[in-house]
């Protein structure tokens, strides 16, 4: 979703969270996941919802992720 809705974004894995940077804004609290670092950690949809609002990509994200609608 980020590749489509936030082209050119950067992401960095920190100890507890992913830091996602796009359009001059930073989202620092996308959880790495309850079981530590995995390829596809389960992330509660609320975190994704907050991130897309914060980065200003909510409408695009809704078209990509049904649970955000």
């Amino acid at each position: 979703m980020l590749d489509h809705c936030a082209p050119g974004h950067t992401r960095k894995q920190r100890t507890h969270n992913w830091l996602v940077i796009f359009g001059g804004r930073s989202y620092p609290s996308l959880p790495v996941g309850a079981h530590g670092r995995r390829h596809n950690p389960e992330i509660q949809v609320g975190h994704v919802k907050n991130m897309v609002r914060h980065l200003g990509i909510e409408e695009c994200a809704k078209s990509q992720i049904e649970r955000l609608r």
Partner: protein, 154 residues
């Protein structure tokens, strides 16, 4: 889906690389009831959120999310000045969509259409967002000790 305007004050001592920082943050969050539970979404700072099946769990998760950011930045910061600058940047990023919803919810509260019995209320204008980060290191005194607080904005 009801949304409530929340005010919070968090006070913590955070250990960094060669420093101990006192972090005092008064912020705003939007509480919503959705997905069969509760979510707190950051307004200022906007980059945090936490949810749970009950209000207490949501608040706990929100605070853990907040602390996890403070911890992450402390791990990366080579100096106190770097840490303070990064926290100020984190604090200043408002979540614009959540802010609009927060202001709308505040109007609902003021019109008597909305009230949350779990928290006390406080005038929003008397609880403005602010951050204060101090290097306390060897200079810490019990005066830095303070309780967190949460209220519904009125």
């Amino acid at each position: 889906m009801a949304s409530y305007p929340i005010l919070f004050s968090f006070r913590h001592l955070i250990a960094g690389n060669g420093f101990v920082a006192s972090v005092v943050m008064d912020g705003r969050a939007l509480l919503t009831q959705e997905d069969g539970g509760f979510w707190l979404f950051g307004v200022q700072p906007g980059g945090i959120a936490g949810g749970g099946s009950g209000l207490a769990e949501a608040l706990n998760e929100f605070k853990k999310g907040y602390l996890s950011v403070l911890f992450d930045i402390a791990t990366e910061s080579k100096s106190f000045d770097e840490y303070k600058a990064a926290l100020n940047q984190f604090f200043c990023e408002v979540n614009p969509a959540n802010e609009d919803a927060w202001k709308a919810a505040l109007q609902e509260v003021r019109q008597g259409k909305l009230a949350l019995s779990e928290f006390g209320s406080a005038k929003a204008e008397s609880w403005m967002p602010k951050i204060d980060v101090q290097n306390v290191g060897h200079h810490a005194t019990p005066t830095v000790n303070a309780f967190d607080s949460v209220a519904e904005a009125a």
